[in-house]
């Protein structure tokens, strides 16, 4: 091949690559605009009406201008009309008079924010946030907010390996606690000081002191019981992540590997008094912090495969390990039940 032919061939590849990319980007933008225009209109409800009765707060993933905004639906009609707030969050959790919102602001250097919002969805205060949002919860008495983020490069055994940072921040003024540095971790009666330990996925009890979370070190994970005043975390059992305490405070729902391959989780419920674990009937891998709908049912988000990224639904399953999971709120993520 002569140099001239080669240059011509390279020019052809260059044109194809640039044109292909530009066309693809234009197509993505147009398809999005069309999807927004042709999406079945989301039935919209009035915010004040929905808020007046028990409801579910979540991140709406329905295609359209409101994509990613925090919405809410009535507990009586979860698949029905939704009321939208102005706020956009990757992760949200809410009470009657407060909400916590974690989100990322993409830019040349992407930054992450956490905010506590009041009943009118106005910012009440900002929380420290070090990385990609993962989990968040408020304590039942509204005194504490827990956030878990992914921090890149924080781990040391291989550069760039993942690690988590979990903070519990006082909302009534006072300290922000780091689970990793401010708490002792006790596993099998012995203190665990491993530097590679990670802690994440907090759920609070009603007494204002007790909480549950996940601890990990090496290849193991533990369900841990924490005390805010005692600054201590005690491992209760192995292989349990992202616990969530039932409204009656008697059981914990969590993700468990249960022999599944890495990156796959089943969901289970653990009876605190009896120490007994029940696997739920959901067959898909659940990678979410479970929320309790009531004392008998749990809610969780599932990505909707086959319809492209970003599509997700909230499902409900029976907490006693019977029955078939059912679709609860379509196009939704990160549910929080508010009574």
């Amino acid at each position: 091949m002569s140099l001239r032919t080669k240059l011509a061939a390279f020019a052809a590849v260059l044109v194809l690559a640039v044109a292909g990319t530009v066309l693809y980007i234009v197509d993505v933008r147009e398809t999005r605009a069309e999807q927004v225009a042709s999406a079945p209109p989301v039935p919209v409800a009035d915010l004040a009406t929905v808020t007046a009765a028990p409801h579910i707060v979540f991140r709406s993933t329905a295609i359209g201008d409101e994509y990613g905004k925090v919405a809410m639906v009535s507990l009586r009609d979860p698949a029905g009309p939704r009321a939208f707030t102005r706020v956009a969050c990757d992760r949200v959790y809410a009470h009657r008079d407060a909400a916590v919102c974690l989100y990322s602001k993409p830019s040349f250097v992407t930054t992450y924010q956490a905010e506590v919002l009041d009943a009118n969805w106005a910012i009440r205060r900002e929380l420290p946030l070090a990385g990609v949002p993962s989990r968040t919860r408020l304590s039942p008495d509204g005194a504490w907010a827990a956030t878990t983020t992914f921090v890149s490069g924080h781990a040391y055994s291989s550069p760039g390996d993942f690690s988590t940072e979990t903070r519990i921040s006082s909302l009534r003024g006072g300290p922000s606690l780091n689970l990793e540095t401010d708490f002792r971790l006790i596993v099998d009666g012995r203190r665990n000081t491993a530097k590679d330990r990670n802690l994440w996925g907090v759920t609070f009890a009603r007494d204002g002191d007790t909480f549950y979370a996940t601890a990990a070190s090496g290849t193991k994970t533990w369900l841990v019981k924490g005390s805010l005043t005692g600054r201590e975390l005690v491992a209760l059992r192995e292989d349990a992540e992202c616990p969530s305490l039932s409204p009656d405070g008697a059981r914990l729902a969590f993700k468990t590997r249960n022999g599944k391959p890495e990156g796959q989780w089943a969901i289970a419920v653990y009876d605190l008094a009896a120490g007994k674990t029940t696997l739920l009937t959901e067959q898909h891998s659940v990678d979410d912090q479970i929320e309790w709908l009531d004392d008998a049912q749990v809610l969780y988000g599932l990505p909707r495969s086959g319809t492209g990224p970003s599509a997700s639904d909230v499902w409900a399953a029976s907490a006693d390990g019977t029955g078939t999971p059912r679709l609860f709120i379509p196009d939704a993520w990160s549910p929080a039940v508010v009574r």
Binding site: V13, T21, I25, P133, F150, Y156, K195, G308, S310
Partner: protein
């Protein structure tokens, strides 16, 4: 001393003090490929967690693969290069797999699919590194090897620095348009492969392929044994960067938020010093500059270990770390390729790189224990003492090697 670099027709080699066109072309191929791969690496954590709703752990698994896979395939790529004696086409195979893995990311929405795609990408990286470095060595004047590798690594690092900027720029244009990032990344990779296929000459180092027995004999030969031993020994005294960054950023939220910029800072220093250090290596000796790089690393440990986490100490430590990379990353293959016969060059370069990676991996496990027992600063100072001994031993092993 046995020198393996045969004379080539004048047209293939650069005259005077210019680096061969082939080296610059390979550098541009790496630049395009690195834009492509760093675009994906930059958006992958956000894509997996925020877009696909996968967990931190899932990302951790993929990230572990990202770091680990390529080192082990590298020696195989090196051998394949020498066995087939077709460095260009082994490299095309490696670059090609990585390019195809970009477009495969568009439909990959599950954890298993993403894991498979990233593994394929890293396999490609492992395959291409040694034949590419063999090509650089083959196309260069023996007296200019350091500079040639310096030019290549500079172009390579420019690509690595541009990748995230291109990716986040696209995300501003198409919010949450991760598939657009993957398509653009594929376009860059495709251009790299096209440039390699069309313009890089199909150099052959020898007439016949290399049998396994000869390769083993080559790698164990006295010429190569000492530098490999020295590289391994120094690798055993090299603490992984993660520890350094961690000890520097213990100072709170600010450091955590700007953490990605620490990598950028180190890269910029690497970028600006790779060519000057390569030239220096050609003038004063590759082994000397290689050892000098480890002295810079020793100083990094001392600054980071004695640091109070202040801005100045952080900048000085990152600068020294960048200098260490500039004085070692391209200089080691330049040093090795002079010590091995042309028909085993790919294997020789790959062996040196694999020895370093494996030594570092082993030591990072051991250092983790030390870090936990003593705390960051004493552990780093301890490592500095260890490295000082290592530099002493390595300089004895490398004595006279530059002549």
């Amino acid at each position: 001393m046995y020198l393996s670099i045969r004379d080539r027709p004048a047209g293939e080699k650069a005259a005077g003090s210019r680096v061969a066109t082939t080296v610059v072309l390979l550098g541009v191929v790496s630049l395009l490929t690195d834009i492509s791969s760093e675009m994906v690496a930059a958006v992958l954590p956000l894509y997996m967690t925020a877009e696909l709703g996968l967990s931190l752990l899932a990302y951790g698994v993929v990230d572990g693969l990202y770091q680990g896979v390529s080192a082990l395939v590298r020696i195989f790529g090196g051998y394949l290069n020498d066995r087939t004696n077709r460095p260009k086409w082994v490299a095309v195979f490696g670059y090609g797999i990585s390019a195809l893995s970009r477009i495969a990311l568009v439909p990959a929405h599950s954890f298993a699919a993403i894991t498979a795609v990233i593994t394929a990408d890293r396999l490609g990286k492992g395959f291409r590194t040694a034949p590419r470095d063999a090509l650089i060595a083959d196309a260069s004047e023996p007296s200019m090897l350091g500079r040639a590798f310096g030019v290549h690594r500079t172009l390579d690092t420019i690509g690595a620095a541009l990748g995230p900027l291109v990716a986040f720029g696209l995300l501003l244009l198409v919010p949450a348009g991760y598939s657009a990032v993957f398509v653009a990344s594929f376009a860059f990779a495709l251009l790299g492969v096209a440039m390699l296929v069309l313009f890089v000459p199909d150099l052959r180092t020898s007439g016949k392929g290399l049998p396994v027995r000869r390769m083993v004999a080559e790698l164990a030969s006295p010429r190569l044994r000492k530098p490999l031993l020295a590289a391994g020994l120094l690798g055993l005294c090299t603490v992984s960067d993660g520890f350094l960054y961690l000890s520097l950023q213990d100072s709170g939220d600010f450091a955590a938020r700007w953490f990605p910029l620490m990598y950028v800072g180190t890269n910029l220093v690497y970028l600006s010093l790779a060519i000057p250090f390569g030239r220096l290596a050609d003038r004063v000796g590759r082994a000397r500059v290689f050892l000098g790089g480890h002295v810079a690393l020793l100083l990094t440990y001392l600054v980071a270990g004695g640091s109070d986490g202040g801005l100045i100490a952080t900048l000085v430590a990152l600068g020294l770390l960048g200098a260490y990379y500039a004085a070692t990353d391209g200089v080691l293959p330049a040093l090795i390729s002079r010590r091995v016969s042309a028909d085993a060059r790919g294997s020789g370069i790959a062996a040196a790189q694999t020895v370093v990676v494996l030594a570092r991996f082993a030591v990072s496990l051991a250092f983790a224990g030390l870090w936990e027992a003593l705390g960051p600063s004493p552990a780093l100072l301890f490592a500095a003492g260890f490295l000082m001994a290592g530099i002493g031993a390595a300089s004895w092993l490398l004595k006279g090697i530059d002549r």
